[in-house]
């Protein structure tokens, strides 16, 4: 009994270690259970709050489950047509250069229909941050194959697994972004374990700080899960991601500002 009293006593404001960011509106996220989109939404809100950027941030939403982000965060948002978020973000940043402008895009949006906008924004060195969630499929529309679907991976349009002979190879667009002179910081992270979330938050903070220097585009890929599209439980999807996605999309920095080693 005494133990229980002590336990309840711990729950006091002065003992707080973690609570969700106050930038998040009092709504239930509408992502599926266990979806990495929720985790990234959460840490992004934490960072905008911690860096005091709420008033100067403009987010650009894509098409896909990633679009839902704008409904949960108390910052300015603009939605773009499918794949066009980097072009819209370019316009916003050029007209309002004092703003922190980011896009938040899925792999279908960024690496299929929006390939051109992505590559050219990177190559022009626009001073924006691209956050790219790679779950290997089109989540929102029912788990179809995306350019990022890994060899052998099943999707609703590759039910026997992706055959590279007929369906081509997965596109590692982050690797391409790293080769372009306009990008300043390019990294690939994940949010599937507490350690991975901490690293992603560190990388994202770095990218947001670099962004204020206006030295080029920062690009963060987050390898993520889609339990609904992959037809797995969230815990199974994490394991599958670790065993199959991460060997294909290895984590770490792909490009760091000259003279700095930020690989973690």
């Amino acid at each position: 009994m005494e133990e229980t009293c002590n336990m309840q006593e711990i729950v006091k404001p002065e003992n707080l270690v973690y609570k969700k960011s106050s930038l998040l509106l009092d709504k239930t996220f509408t992502y599926c259970p266990g979806c990495g989109h929720g985790t990234v939404t959460r840490i992004l809100a934490e960072l905008i709050e911690e860096l005091g950027l709420q008033k100067q941030t403009v987010g650009v939403s894509p098409v896909g489950c990633s679009v839902l982000l704008y409904a949960f965060m108390d910052i300015d948002f603009q939605q773009a047509a499918h794949g066009r978020a980097p072009a819209v973000a370019t316009g916003i940043k050029r007209l309002l250069p004092d703003r922190f402008v980011f896009t938040y895009q899925g792999d279908g949006d960024l690496a299929a229909i929006g390939t051109s906008e992505t590559i050219h924004a990177c190559n022009r060195g626009e001073n924006i941050l691209i956050i790219y969630i790679n779950n290997g499929i089109y989540g929102m529309t029912g788990g179809q194959m995306a350019p990022t679907t890994i060899p052998g991976m099943k999707s609703s349009t590759s039910p026997r697994g992706r055959n590279v002979q007929t369906m081509g190879y997965p596109l590692k667009i982050t690797d391409i972004a790293a080769t372009l002179p306009g990008t300043y910081y390019v990294t690939r992270q994940s949010v599937h374990t507490p350690a991975a979330v901490r690293k992603t938050k560190k990388a994202m903070r770095r990218a947001m700080e670099y962004q204020s220097l206006n030295r080029g585009l920062c690009f963060i890929e987050i390898v993520s899960n889609c339990p609904s599209g992959w037809k797995m439980t969230p815990v199974e999807s994490i394991k599958w991601m670790e065993e199959n996605m991460l060997p294909y999309y290895p984590l770490g920095d792909l490009k760091t500002p000259a003279g700095e080693n930020t690989n973690q």
Partner: protein, 74 residues
């Protein structure tokens, strides 16, 4: 001797029962409830909260941000 003790509060109505927190807790504090919440999920709850160290791993992986963590010396 003073001991570090943690405790968590889960907003069980907003929990989606994904169990990622259960898989991430090093102290095996959290369990899935047999009952369902309003949304129909077997929500997570701190079944053995006396074992909690306040490490915040569970809150950091929770995709829905429904876990709040506290820690104190007692």
């Amino acid at each position: 001797m003073a001991k570090i003790k943690g405790n968590i509060v889960i907003d069980t109505e907003k929990c989606k029962g994904c169990e990622l927190c259960i898989a991430s807790c090093p102290s095996k504090v959290i369990d899935a409830a047999k009952e369902l919440n309003e949304k129909g999920y077997h929500y997570a709850y701190p079944a053995k909260h006396e074992q909690c160290t306040g490490c915040a791993n569970c809150a950091i992986v929770c995709p829905d941000g429904v876990i709040t963590v506290y820690k104190a010396k007692i």
